[in-house]
Protein backbone atom coordinates (compact mmCIF):
# COMPACT_ATOMS: atom_id res chain seq x y z
CA UNK A 1 0.00 0.00 0.00
CA UNK A 2 1.08 3.56 -0.71
CA UNK A 3 3.15 5.14 2.03
CA UNK A 4 2.14 8.68 2.93
CA UNK A 5 5.49 9.77 1.45
CA UNK A 6 6.47 12.72 3.65
CA UNK A 7 9.93 11.32 4.19
CA UNK A 8 11.09 12.22 0.70
CA UNK A 9 9.71 15.74 1.14
CA UNK A 10 11.72 16.18 4.32
CA UNK A 11 14.85 14.80 2.63
CA UNK A 12 14.55 17.04 -0.44
CA UNK A 13 13.86 20.16 1.60
CA UNK A 14 16.65 19.40 4.09
CA UNK A 15 19.16 18.91 1.28
CA UNK A 16 18.16 22.20 -0.35
CA UNK A 17 18.28 23.99 3.00
CA UNK A 18 21.99 23.19 3.28
CA UNK A 19 22.94 25.01 0.08
CA UNK A 20 23.71 28.39 1.73
CA UNK A 21 26.18 26.63 4.01
CA UNK A 22 28.00 25.23 1.00
CA UNK A 23 28.14 28.40 -1.08
CA UNK A 24 27.75 32.07 -0.26
CA UNK A 25 27.81 33.05 -3.92
CA UNK A 26 25.03 35.57 -4.51
CA UNK A 27 24.86 34.50 -8.14
CA UNK A 28 24.10 30.90 -7.22
CA UNK A 29 21.67 31.84 -4.46
CA UNK A 30 19.90 34.31 -6.71
CA UNK A 31 19.61 31.64 -9.37
CA UNK A 32 18.16 29.17 -6.87
CA UNK A 33 15.74 31.73 -5.43
CA UNK A 34 14.31 32.28 -8.89
CA UNK A 35 14.20 28.55 -9.64
CA UNK A 36 12.37 27.89 -6.36
CA UNK A 37 10.00 30.77 -7.05
CA UNK A 38 9.12 29.17 -10.39
CA UNK A 39 8.81 25.79 -8.65
CA UNK A 40 6.30 27.33 -6.23
CA UNK A 41 4.30 29.08 -8.93
CA UNK A 42 4.42 25.89 -11.01
CA UNK A 43 3.25 23.76 -8.09
CA UNK A 44 0.19 25.97 -7.91
CA UNK A 45 -0.47 25.30 -11.59
CA UNK A 46 0.21 21.60 -11.02
CA UNK A 47 -2.56 21.23 -8.44
CA UNK A 48 -5.16 22.34 -10.96
CA UNK A 49 -3.53 21.25 -14.22
CA UNK A 50 -1.56 18.19 -13.20
CA UNK A 51 -3.90 16.63 -10.67
CA UNK A 52 -7.17 18.13 -11.91
CA UNK A 53 -6.51 18.11 -15.65
CA UNK A 54 -7.64 21.74 -16.07
CA UNK A 55 -4.89 23.47 -18.04
CA UNK A 56 -4.75 27.16 -17.24
CA UNK A 57 -2.91 29.70 -19.38
CA UNK A 58 -3.65 32.48 -16.96
CA UNK A 59 -1.95 31.79 -13.66
CA UNK A 60 -0.53 35.31 -13.93
CA UNK A 61 -3.92 36.41 -12.62
CA UNK A 62 -3.09 34.86 -9.23
CA UNK A 63 0.60 35.67 -9.22
CA UNK A 64 -0.13 39.30 -10.04
CA UNK A 65 -2.93 39.59 -7.51
CA UNK A 66 -0.66 38.26 -4.76
CA UNK A 67 2.17 40.56 -5.80
CA UNK A 68 0.07 43.71 -6.17
CA UNK A 69 -1.91 43.10 -2.98
CA UNK A 70 1.29 42.81 -0.95
CA UNK A 71 2.84 45.86 -2.62
CA UNK A 72 -0.19 48.15 -2.72
CA UNK A 73 -1.12 47.45 0.89
CA UNK A 74 2.33 48.61 1.94
CA UNK A 75 2.75 51.51 -0.45
CA UNK A 76 -0.76 52.96 -0.43
CA UNK A 77 -2.09 51.89 2.97
CA UNK A 78 1.00 51.51 5.09
CA UNK A 79 0.08 47.96 6.04
CA UNK A 80 2.99 45.82 7.21
CA UNK A 81 4.48 43.39 4.70
CA UNK A 82 3.86 40.26 6.78
CA UNK A 83 0.07 40.58 7.04
CA UNK A 84 0.24 41.98 3.51
CA UNK A 85 1.79 38.71 2.40
CA UNK A 86 -1.04 36.69 3.97
CA UNK A 87 -3.71 38.99 2.57
CA UNK A 88 -2.04 38.68 -0.85
CA UNK A 89 -2.38 34.89 -0.74
CA UNK A 90 -6.02 35.19 0.31
CA UNK A 91 -6.72 37.69 -2.46
CA UNK A 92 -5.14 35.38 -5.02
CA UNK A 93 -7.25 32.49 -3.75
CA UNK A 94 -10.36 34.64 -4.02
CA UNK A 95 -9.57 35.61 -7.62
CA UNK A 96 -9.04 31.90 -8.34
CA UNK A 97 -12.38 31.00 -6.82
CA UNK A 98 -14.18 33.70 -8.81
CA UNK A 99 -12.55 32.84 -12.16
CA UNK A 100 -13.10 29.14 -11.42
CA UNK A 101 -16.73 29.68 -10.56
CA UNK A 102 -17.40 31.66 -13.72
CA UNK A 103 -15.58 29.33 -16.10
CA UNK A 104 -16.50 25.94 -14.60
CA UNK A 105 -20.13 26.94 -14.21
CA UNK A 106 -20.34 27.65 -17.90
CA UNK A 107 -18.85 24.20 -18.47
CA UNK A 108 -15.60 25.41 -20.00
CA UNK A 109 -13.05 22.65 -20.54
CA UNK A 110 -9.83 22.01 -22.40
CA UNK A 111 -8.67 24.78 -24.70
CA UNK A 112 -11.73 26.91 -23.91
CA UNK A 113 -10.80 26.93 -20.25
CA UNK A 114 -7.20 27.74 -21.16
CA UNK A 115 -8.26 30.67 -23.32
CA UNK A 116 -10.66 32.09 -20.77
CA UNK A 117 -8.04 32.01 -18.00
CA UNK A 118 -5.63 33.74 -20.37
CA UNK A 119 -8.28 36.36 -21.07
CA UNK A 120 -8.89 37.00 -17.36
CA UNK A 121 -5.17 37.47 -16.76
CA UNK A 122 -4.90 39.86 -19.71
CA UNK A 123 -7.86 41.91 -18.49
CA UNK A 124 -6.19 42.22 -15.09
CA UNK A 125 -2.93 43.21 -16.74
CA UNK A 126 -4.63 45.96 -18.73
CA UNK A 127 -6.54 47.21 -15.69
CA UNK A 128 -3.34 47.24 -13.65
CA UNK A 129 -1.53 49.18 -16.37
CA UNK A 130 -4.01 52.08 -16.16
CA UNK A 131 -5.30 51.99 -12.56
CA UNK A 132 -3.77 54.75 -10.39
CA UNK A 133 -3.62 52.49 -7.34
CA UNK A 134 -1.05 50.21 -8.98
CA UNK A 135 1.07 53.14 -10.13
CA UNK A 136 -0.33 52.62 -13.64
CA UNK A 137 2.38 52.83 -16.30
CA UNK A 138 5.11 53.84 -13.85
CA UNK A 139 4.79 50.79 -11.64
CA UNK A 140 4.87 50.31 -7.89
CA UNK A 141 8.05 50.66 -5.90
CA UNK A 142 8.17 49.29 -2.37
CA UNK A 143 10.36 51.55 -0.22
CA UNK A 144 13.68 49.97 0.66
CA UNK A 145 13.61 49.16 4.37
CA UNK A 146 15.92 46.30 5.13
CA UNK A 147 14.47 45.01 8.38
CA UNK A 148 12.93 41.71 9.37
CA UNK A 149 9.74 43.59 10.36
CA UNK A 150 9.46 44.91 6.80
CA UNK A 151 10.05 41.47 5.23
CA UNK A 152 13.30 42.70 3.68
CA UNK A 153 16.69 41.11 4.22
CA UNK A 154 20.25 41.99 3.47
CA UNK A 155 21.23 38.39 3.05
CA UNK A 156 20.21 36.39 0.00
CA UNK A 157 20.35 33.27 2.16
CA UNK A 158 17.35 34.43 4.24
CA UNK A 159 15.29 35.01 1.10
CA UNK A 160 16.43 31.63 -0.10
CA UNK A 161 15.23 29.90 3.05
CA UNK A 162 11.94 31.75 2.93
CA UNK A 163 11.16 30.70 -0.63
CA UNK A 164 12.33 27.20 0.26
CA UNK A 165 9.93 27.17 3.21
CA UNK A 166 7.11 28.16 0.87
CA UNK A 167 8.09 25.42 -1.58
CA UNK A 168 8.24 22.96 1.33
CA UNK A 169 4.76 23.99 2.40
CA UNK A 170 3.47 23.53 -1.15
CA UNK A 171 5.03 20.05 -1.26
CA UNK A 172 3.31 19.12 2.00
CA UNK A 173 -0.01 20.47 0.70
CA UNK A 174 0.32 18.44 -2.50
CA UNK A 175 1.24 15.33 -0.51
CA UNK A 176 -1.83 15.85 1.66
CA UNK A 177 -3.96 16.18 -1.45
CA UNK A 178 -2.48 12.98 -2.88
CA UNK A 179 -3.39 11.10 0.31
CA UNK A 180 -6.90 12.49 0.63
CA UNK A 181 -10.39 11.84 -0.63
CA UNK A 182 -10.35 15.26 -2.26
CA UNK A 183 -7.24 14.26 -4.21
CA UNK A 184 -8.77 10.96 -5.32
CA UNK A 185 -11.82 12.83 -6.57
CA UNK A 186 -9.71 15.47 -8.27
CA UNK A 187 -7.76 12.84 -10.21
CA UNK A 188 -11.02 11.06 -11.03
CA UNK A 189 -12.36 14.30 -12.51
CA UNK A 190 -9.19 14.60 -14.60
CA UNK A 191 -9.51 11.04 -15.89
CA UNK A 192 -13.25 10.95 -16.62
CA UNK A 193 -15.83 13.48 -15.48
CA UNK A 194 -18.91 11.41 -16.22
CA UNK A 195 -17.60 8.38 -14.39
CA UNK A 196 -16.69 10.61 -11.45
CA UNK A 197 -20.15 12.14 -11.33
CA UNK A 198 -21.77 8.70 -11.37
CA UNK A 199 -19.71 7.80 -8.30
CA UNK A 200 -20.95 10.77 -6.34
CA UNK A 201 -18.22 13.29 -7.10
CA UNK A 202 -19.41 16.88 -7.19
CA UNK A 203 -17.29 17.87 -10.19
CA UNK A 204 -17.94 21.60 -9.88
CA UNK A 205 -17.01 21.72 -6.18
CA UNK A 206 -13.92 19.59 -6.77
CA UNK A 207 -12.61 21.78 -9.58
CA UNK A 208 -13.39 24.92 -7.63
CA UNK A 209 -11.53 23.63 -4.58
CA UNK A 210 -8.51 22.76 -6.72
CA UNK A 211 -8.54 26.13 -8.44
CA UNK A 212 -8.67 27.98 -5.12
CA UNK A 213 -5.74 26.03 -3.65
CA UNK A 214 -3.88 26.36 -6.94
CA UNK A 215 -4.40 30.13 -7.01
CA UNK A 216 -3.34 30.52 -3.37
CA UNK A 217 -0.04 28.72 -3.96
CA UNK A 218 0.73 30.72 -7.09
CA UNK A 219 -0.26 33.94 -5.34
CA UNK A 220 2.26 33.17 -2.59
CA UNK A 221 4.89 33.24 -5.33
CA UNK A 222 3.66 36.68 -6.37
CA UNK A 223 3.82 37.98 -2.80
CA UNK A 224 7.39 36.73 -2.51
CA UNK A 225 8.31 38.32 -5.83
CA UNK A 226 7.12 41.71 -4.61
CA UNK A 227 9.29 41.51 -1.48
CA UNK A 228 12.31 40.18 -3.32
CA UNK A 229 12.42 42.71 -6.14
CA UNK A 230 10.51 45.56 -4.46
CA UNK A 231 9.23 46.64 -7.86
CA UNK A 232 6.19 45.69 -9.93
CA UNK A 233 4.55 46.82 -13.10
CA UNK A 234 1.57 45.36 -14.92
CA UNK A 235 3.71 43.41 -17.37
CA UNK A 236 5.68 41.76 -14.60
CA UNK A 237 2.80 40.99 -12.26
CA UNK A 238 0.10 40.00 -14.72
CA UNK A 239 2.19 39.35 -17.85
CA UNK A 240 1.95 36.13 -19.87
CA UNK A 241 5.59 35.31 -18.98
CA UNK A 242 4.62 34.04 -15.54
CA UNK A 243 1.64 32.07 -16.91
CA UNK A 244 4.10 30.35 -19.24
CA UNK A 245 6.65 29.67 -16.49
CA UNK A 246 3.85 28.32 -14.28
CA UNK A 247 2.85 25.64 -16.76
CA UNK A 248 6.25 24.97 -18.28
CA UNK A 249 7.92 23.87 -15.05
CA UNK A 250 5.41 21.10 -14.22
CA UNK A 251 5.03 20.01 -17.85
CA UNK A 252 8.77 19.64 -18.26
CA UNK A 253 9.25 18.22 -14.78
CA UNK A 254 6.26 15.88 -14.88
CA UNK A 255 2.60 16.92 -14.67
CA UNK A 256 0.61 15.55 -11.80
CA UNK A 257 3.71 14.50 -9.87
CA UNK A 258 4.73 16.13 -6.62
CA UNK A 259 8.34 16.88 -7.67
CA UNK A 260 7.54 17.73 -11.27
CA UNK A 261 7.41 21.51 -10.80
CA UNK A 262 10.65 21.57 -8.77
CA UNK A 263 12.54 19.39 -11.25
CA UNK A 264 11.13 21.31 -14.20
CA UNK A 265 12.01 24.69 -12.72
CA UNK A 266 15.59 23.60 -12.03
CA UNK A 267 16.00 22.12 -15.51
CA UNK A 268 14.49 25.09 -17.34
CA UNK A 269 16.39 27.69 -15.33
CA UNK A 270 19.67 25.79 -15.68
CA UNK A 271 19.24 25.53 -19.43
CA UNK A 272 18.40 29.22 -19.59
CA UNK A 273 21.55 30.16 -17.68
CA UNK A 274 23.73 27.82 -19.71
CA UNK A 275 22.45 29.30 -22.95
CA UNK A 276 23.07 32.82 -21.68
CA UNK A 277 26.71 31.94 -21.04
CA UNK A 278 27.14 30.49 -24.48
CA UNK A 279 25.41 33.15 -26.55
CA UNK A 280 25.25 36.27 -24.42
CA UNK A 281 21.90 37.86 -23.65
CA UNK A 282 20.22 37.75 -27.03
CA UNK A 283 16.61 38.86 -26.48
CA UNK A 284 14.02 36.10 -26.77
CA UNK A 285 16.62 33.38 -26.56
CA UNK A 286 15.10 31.96 -23.38
CA UNK A 287 11.78 31.56 -25.19
CA UNK A 288 13.46 29.65 -28.00
CA UNK A 289 15.07 27.36 -25.45
CA UNK A 290 11.75 26.85 -23.65
CA UNK A 291 10.13 26.00 -26.94
CA UNK A 292 12.83 23.52 -27.91
CA UNK A 293 12.83 21.83 -24.50
CA UNK A 294 9.05 21.64 -24.54
CA UNK A 295 9.04 19.97 -27.95
CA UNK A 296 11.64 17.46 -26.77
CA UNK A 297 9.81 16.69 -23.55
CA UNK A 298 6.41 16.29 -25.19
CA UNK A 299 7.94 14.17 -27.92
CA UNK A 300 10.25 11.92 -25.93
CA UNK A 301 9.26 12.13 -22.27
CA UNK A 302 5.52 12.76 -22.03
CA UNK A 303 5.69 12.30 -18.28
CA UNK A 304 8.49 14.81 -17.94
CA UNK A 305 11.75 14.58 -16.08
CA UNK A 306 10.05 12.76 -13.18
CA UNK A 307 8.83 10.09 -15.57
CA UNK A 308 12.25 9.85 -17.18
CA UNK A 309 13.93 9.36 -13.81
CA UNK A 310 11.49 6.64 -12.87
CA UNK A 311 12.18 4.88 -16.12
CA UNK A 312 15.93 4.99 -15.43
CA UNK A 313 15.64 3.94 -11.79
CA UNK A 314 12.47 1.88 -11.51
CA UNK A 315 11.21 1.60 -7.97
CA UNK A 316 9.30 -1.20 -6.32
CA UNK A 317 5.97 0.59 -6.09
CA UNK A 318 5.74 1.38 -9.77
CA UNK A 319 2.14 0.41 -10.36
CA UNK A 320 0.57 3.88 -10.50
CA UNK A 321 3.41 5.19 -12.64
CA UNK A 322 3.04 2.42 -15.17
CA UNK A 323 -0.62 3.15 -15.29
CA UNK A 324 0.19 6.64 -16.51
CA UNK A 325 2.25 5.34 -19.36
CA UNK A 326 -0.60 3.24 -20.72
CA UNK A 327 -2.86 6.22 -20.86
CA UNK A 328 -3.45 8.43 -23.81
CA UNK A 329 -4.16 12.00 -22.84
CA UNK A 330 -6.93 13.64 -24.76
Amino acid sequence: MKAPGYLSVVAVVAALALVPFVTSSNVILNFLVIALLIALVGQGWNVLGGYGGQYSFGHAAFFGTGAYTTAVLQVQYGINAWPGFAIGIAAGALVGAVIGFLSFRSGLKGSYFALVTLAFAEVLRIVASVAPITGAGVGTLIRLDVRFEAFQFQSRAIFYWIILALVALSLVIVRMIENSRFGARLVAVRENEDAARALGVDVMATKLGAMTISAAITAAGGCFYAQYYLFLDAGIAYGPWISVEALLAPIIGGVGTIYGPLLGALVVKTLGEAAKHVTGTAPGLDLIIYGAVLVLVVGFAPRGVAGLLERLWPRRSRAPARAEEGKSRD
Binding site: R181, N192, D194, A195, L199, V201, P320, A323, E324
Partner: protein, 252 residues
Protein backbone atom coordinates in the same frame (compact mmCIF):
# COMPACT_ATOMS: atom_id res chain seq x y z
CA UNK B 1 -48.31 -4.17 -1.96
CA UNK B 2 -45.49 -1.93 -0.82
CA UNK B 3 -44.37 1.07 -2.76
CA UNK B 4 -41.73 0.34 -5.42
CA UNK B 5 -38.19 1.59 -4.80
CA UNK B 6 -38.13 3.34 -8.16
CA UNK B 7 -40.98 4.61 -10.27
CA UNK B 8 -40.64 6.05 -13.76
CA UNK B 9 -43.79 7.92 -14.73
CA UNK B 10 -44.60 8.80 -18.33
CA UNK B 11 -41.04 9.81 -19.14
CA UNK B 12 -40.27 11.14 -22.61
CA UNK B 13 -37.00 12.32 -24.07
CA UNK B 14 -36.68 14.19 -27.31
CA UNK B 15 -33.39 14.70 -29.16
CA UNK B 16 -34.23 17.29 -31.78
CA UNK B 17 -36.70 15.54 -34.05
CA UNK B 18 -36.12 12.10 -32.51
CA UNK B 19 -38.34 10.87 -29.72
CA UNK B 20 -35.89 8.48 -28.04
CA UNK B 21 -38.15 7.68 -25.08
CA UNK B 22 -41.88 8.08 -25.34
CA UNK B 23 -44.14 8.14 -22.26
CA UNK B 24 -42.33 5.23 -20.69
CA UNK B 25 -43.41 4.05 -17.26
CA UNK B 26 -41.91 1.31 -15.17
CA UNK B 27 -41.41 0.40 -11.56
CA UNK B 28 -38.68 -1.45 -9.75
CA UNK B 29 -39.51 -3.43 -6.61
CA UNK B 30 -37.10 -3.55 -3.70
CA UNK B 31 -34.80 -6.52 -3.44
CA UNK B 32 -35.40 -7.78 -6.95
CA UNK B 33 -33.60 -7.93 -10.25
CA UNK B 34 -35.68 -6.15 -12.85
CA UNK B 35 -34.72 -6.57 -16.49
CA UNK B 36 -35.06 -3.92 -19.18
CA UNK B 37 -34.77 -5.37 -22.66
CA UNK B 38 -35.44 -4.13 -26.16
CA UNK B 39 -33.91 -3.90 -29.62
CA UNK B 40 -30.97 -1.64 -30.46
CA UNK B 41 -31.84 2.03 -30.32
CA UNK B 42 -34.99 1.40 -28.27
CA UNK B 43 -34.02 4.09 -25.77
CA UNK B 44 -32.84 1.92 -22.88
CA UNK B 45 -29.59 3.75 -22.22
CA UNK B 46 -31.37 7.08 -22.58
CA UNK B 47 -33.86 6.01 -19.93
CA UNK B 48 -30.96 5.02 -17.63
CA UNK B 49 -29.34 8.39 -18.17
CA UNK B 50 -32.60 10.04 -17.12
CA UNK B 51 -33.00 7.89 -14.01
CA UNK B 52 -29.40 8.51 -12.96
CA UNK B 53 -29.59 12.28 -13.50
CA UNK B 54 -27.30 12.55 -16.51
CA UNK B 55 -30.16 13.69 -18.74
CA UNK B 56 -33.31 15.55 -17.80
CA UNK B 57 -36.47 14.23 -19.40
CA UNK B 58 -38.50 16.35 -21.80
CA UNK B 59 -41.54 15.19 -19.88
CA UNK B 60 -42.43 12.91 -16.99
CA UNK B 61 -41.15 12.20 -13.48
CA UNK B 62 -38.79 9.82 -11.74
CA UNK B 63 -39.71 8.88 -8.18
CA UNK B 64 -37.29 7.15 -5.81
CA UNK B 65 -38.29 6.12 -2.29
CA UNK B 66 -41.45 8.12 -2.76
CA UNK B 67 -39.54 11.31 -3.60
CA UNK B 68 -39.43 13.13 -6.91
CA UNK B 69 -35.78 13.02 -8.01
CA UNK B 70 -36.25 14.18 -11.59
CA UNK B 71 -34.17 17.34 -11.24
CA UNK B 72 -31.32 15.99 -9.12
CA UNK B 73 -27.78 15.81 -10.54
CA UNK B 74 -25.91 12.47 -10.72
CA UNK B 75 -23.64 13.05 -7.72
CA UNK B 76 -26.63 13.78 -5.49
CA UNK B 77 -28.39 10.64 -6.71
CA UNK B 78 -25.27 8.62 -6.00
CA UNK B 79 -25.46 9.88 -2.41
CA UNK B 80 -29.12 8.85 -2.31
CA UNK B 81 -28.03 5.33 -3.21
CA UNK B 82 -28.42 5.14 -6.98
CA UNK B 83 -25.37 3.82 -8.82
CA UNK B 84 -24.99 3.10 -12.51
CA UNK B 85 -22.56 1.46 -14.89
CA UNK B 86 -21.88 2.69 -18.40
CA UNK B 87 -22.60 0.65 -21.52
CA UNK B 88 -19.56 2.25 -23.10
CA UNK B 89 -17.13 1.63 -20.25
CA UNK B 90 -15.63 4.74 -18.64
CA UNK B 91 -12.57 3.66 -16.65
CA UNK B 92 -10.20 6.14 -15.03
CA UNK B 93 -7.63 4.81 -17.46
CA UNK B 94 -4.54 6.27 -15.81
CA UNK B 95 -5.36 4.85 -12.39
CA UNK B 96 -5.00 1.32 -11.09
CA UNK B 97 -8.01 -0.92 -10.68
CA UNK B 98 -7.82 -0.43 -6.90
CA UNK B 99 -7.69 3.35 -7.24
CA UNK B 100 -10.63 3.26 -9.65
CA UNK B 101 -12.80 1.36 -7.21
CA UNK B 102 -11.65 3.54 -4.31
CA UNK B 103 -13.26 6.58 -5.96
CA UNK B 104 -16.58 4.81 -5.50
CA UNK B 105 -15.71 3.72 -1.97
CA UNK B 106 -14.91 7.33 -1.05
CA UNK B 107 -18.60 8.18 -1.35
CA UNK B 108 -19.06 6.97 2.22
CA UNK B 109 -15.49 6.57 3.41
CA UNK B 110 -13.41 9.70 3.98
CA UNK B 111 -10.06 8.10 4.80
CA UNK B 112 -7.78 7.17 1.92
CA UNK B 113 -6.45 4.02 3.53
CA UNK B 114 -9.90 2.76 4.49
CA UNK B 115 -11.25 3.50 1.02
CA UNK B 116 -8.40 1.58 -0.63
CA UNK B 117 -9.03 -1.35 1.68
CA UNK B 118 -12.75 -1.30 0.90
CA UNK B 119 -11.89 -1.09 -2.80
CA UNK B 120 -9.77 -4.21 -2.45
CA UNK B 121 -12.66 -6.14 -0.88
CA UNK B 122 -15.10 -5.01 -3.57
CA UNK B 123 -12.59 -5.85 -6.28
CA UNK B 124 -12.16 -9.35 -4.93
CA UNK B 125 -15.91 -9.78 -4.71
CA UNK B 126 -16.35 -9.20 -8.44
CA UNK B 127 -13.29 -11.23 -9.41
CA UNK B 128 -10.73 -8.47 -9.93
CA UNK B 129 -8.54 -9.59 -7.02
CA UNK B 130 -5.59 -10.53 -9.20
CA UNK B 131 -5.45 -7.28 -11.19
CA UNK B 132 -5.95 -4.70 -8.43
CA UNK B 133 -2.61 -3.00 -9.10
CA UNK B 134 -2.87 -3.01 -12.88
CA UNK B 135 -3.74 0.14 -14.77
CA UNK B 136 -7.42 0.15 -15.63
CA UNK B 137 -6.58 1.20 -19.18
CA UNK B 138 -4.94 -2.18 -19.80
CA UNK B 139 -7.85 -4.40 -18.76
CA UNK B 140 -9.64 -6.79 -21.12
CA UNK B 141 -13.26 -6.14 -22.09
CA UNK B 142 -14.42 -8.53 -19.39
CA UNK B 143 -12.15 -6.84 -16.88
CA UNK B 144 -13.50 -3.40 -17.75
CA UNK B 145 -17.06 -4.60 -17.33
CA UNK B 146 -16.21 -6.00 -13.94
CA UNK B 147 -14.54 -2.73 -13.04
CA UNK B 148 -17.71 -0.81 -13.93
CA UNK B 149 -19.60 -3.15 -11.64
CA UNK B 150 -17.05 -2.90 -8.84
CA UNK B 151 -16.90 0.90 -8.85
CA UNK B 152 -20.68 1.20 -8.73
CA UNK B 153 -20.89 -1.43 -6.02
CA UNK B 154 -18.24 0.33 -3.94
CA UNK B 155 -20.64 3.27 -3.46
CA UNK B 156 -22.83 0.82 -1.48
CA UNK B 157 -25.93 1.53 -3.55
CA UNK B 158 -29.53 0.64 -2.77
CA UNK B 159 -30.39 0.67 -6.45
CA UNK B 160 -27.88 -0.53 -9.01
CA UNK B 161 -28.43 0.27 -12.68
CA UNK B 162 -26.48 -2.09 -14.93
CA UNK B 163 -26.23 -1.16 -18.61
CA UNK B 164 -25.21 -4.26 -20.59
CA UNK B 165 -22.52 -5.51 -18.24
CA UNK B 166 -22.58 -8.84 -20.08
CA UNK B 167 -22.19 -7.45 -23.60
CA UNK B 168 -18.99 -8.43 -25.34
CA UNK B 169 -18.23 -11.25 -22.91
CA UNK B 170 -17.64 -14.85 -23.93
CA UNK B 171 -20.14 -17.48 -22.76
CA UNK B 172 -17.73 -18.68 -20.09
CA UNK B 173 -17.13 -15.13 -18.84
CA UNK B 174 -20.89 -14.68 -18.64
CA UNK B 175 -21.19 -17.89 -16.65
CA UNK B 176 -18.62 -16.48 -14.22
CA UNK B 177 -20.30 -13.14 -13.68
CA UNK B 178 -23.96 -14.16 -13.47
CA UNK B 179 -23.55 -15.58 -9.95
CA UNK B 180 -21.78 -12.36 -8.92
CA UNK B 181 -24.82 -10.33 -9.95
CA UNK B 182 -27.15 -12.74 -8.17
CA UNK B 183 -25.03 -12.49 -5.01
CA UNK B 184 -25.32 -8.70 -5.11
CA UNK B 185 -29.10 -9.01 -5.25
CA UNK B 186 -29.07 -11.55 -2.43
CA UNK B 187 -27.27 -9.03 -0.25
CA UNK B 188 -30.26 -6.74 -0.61
CA UNK B 189 -29.24 -4.48 -3.49
CA UNK B 190 -32.06 -3.80 -5.90
CA UNK B 191 -30.97 -4.14 -9.52
CA UNK B 192 -32.34 -2.75 -12.76
CA UNK B 193 -30.42 -4.24 -15.65
CA UNK B 194 -30.38 -3.58 -19.36
CA UNK B 195 -29.29 -6.69 -21.17
CA UNK B 196 -29.14 -8.14 -24.64
CA UNK B 197 -27.90 -11.56 -23.60
CA UNK B 198 -31.35 -13.08 -23.44
CA UNK B 199 -30.57 -16.27 -21.63
CA UNK B 200 -28.81 -14.44 -18.82
CA UNK B 201 -31.40 -11.72 -18.36
CA UNK B 202 -34.22 -14.25 -18.41
CA UNK B 203 -32.57 -16.44 -15.81
CA UNK B 204 -31.53 -13.51 -13.57
CA UNK B 205 -34.62 -11.30 -13.69
CA UNK B 206 -37.59 -11.51 -11.41
CA UNK B 207 -39.52 -9.14 -13.64
CA UNK B 208 -38.89 -7.79 -17.14
CA UNK B 209 -39.88 -4.64 -19.02
CA UNK B 210 -39.62 -4.43 -22.78
CA UNK B 211 -38.82 -1.13 -24.46
CA UNK B 212 -39.26 -0.73 -28.19
CA UNK B 213 -38.96 2.51 -30.13
CA UNK B 214 -39.09 4.43 -26.86
CA UNK B 215 -42.25 2.77 -25.55
CA UNK B 216 -42.77 0.09 -22.94
CA UNK B 217 -44.59 -2.56 -24.96
CA UNK B 218 -44.70 -5.38 -22.43
CA UNK B 219 -43.89 -6.34 -18.87
CA UNK B 220 -44.13 -9.47 -16.81
CA UNK B 221 -42.36 -12.59 -15.64
CA UNK B 222 -39.47 -13.65 -17.89
CA UNK B 223 -41.24 -16.78 -19.12
CA UNK B 224 -44.33 -14.84 -20.13
CA UNK B 225 -42.24 -12.16 -21.86
CA UNK B 226 -40.31 -14.74 -23.89
CA UNK B 227 -43.45 -15.99 -25.54
CA UNK B 228 -45.24 -12.63 -25.88
CA UNK B 229 -45.97 -12.10 -29.61
CA UNK B 230 -45.55 -8.32 -29.24
CA UNK B 231 -42.02 -8.83 -27.93
CA UNK B 232 -41.05 -11.31 -30.60
CA UNK B 233 -42.30 -8.91 -33.26
CA UNK B 234 -40.35 -6.01 -31.75
CA UNK B 235 -37.16 -8.01 -32.01
CA UNK B 236 -37.66 -9.90 -35.25
CA UNK B 237 -39.96 -7.65 -37.23
CA UNK B 238 -43.62 -7.66 -38.20
CA UNK B 239 -45.11 -11.11 -38.70
CA UNK B 240 -42.23 -12.78 -36.92
CA UNK B 241 -44.38 -14.07 -34.07
CA UNK B 242 -46.46 -16.10 -36.44
CA UNK B 243 -43.46 -17.45 -38.31
CA UNK B 244 -41.77 -18.23 -35.01
CA UNK B 245 -44.86 -20.08 -33.72
CA UNK B 246 -45.05 -21.95 -37.03
CA UNK B 247 -41.37 -22.84 -36.88
CA UNK B 248 -41.72 -24.05 -33.31
CA UNK B 249 -44.69 -26.21 -34.34
CA UNK B 250 -42.62 -27.79 -37.12
CA UNK B 251 -39.81 -28.55 -34.75
CA UNK B 252 -42.08 -30.57 -32.53
Amino acid sequence: MTEPLLGVHNVSKRFGGLLAVSEASLSVESGRITGLIGPNGAGKTTLFAIISGFLSPSDGRVVYRGRDITALPPHRLAREGIARTFQVVQPFAGLTVRENIAVGAHLHIAGRRAALAAAERTGEEVGLGSVLDRPAGGLTVAGRKRLELARALATRPSLLLLDEVLAGLTPSEIRDIVPVIRAIRDRGVTILMIEHVMQAVMSLSDHVFVLSEGRIIAEGKPAAIASDPKVIEAYLGHGAAQRYAGGAAHAH
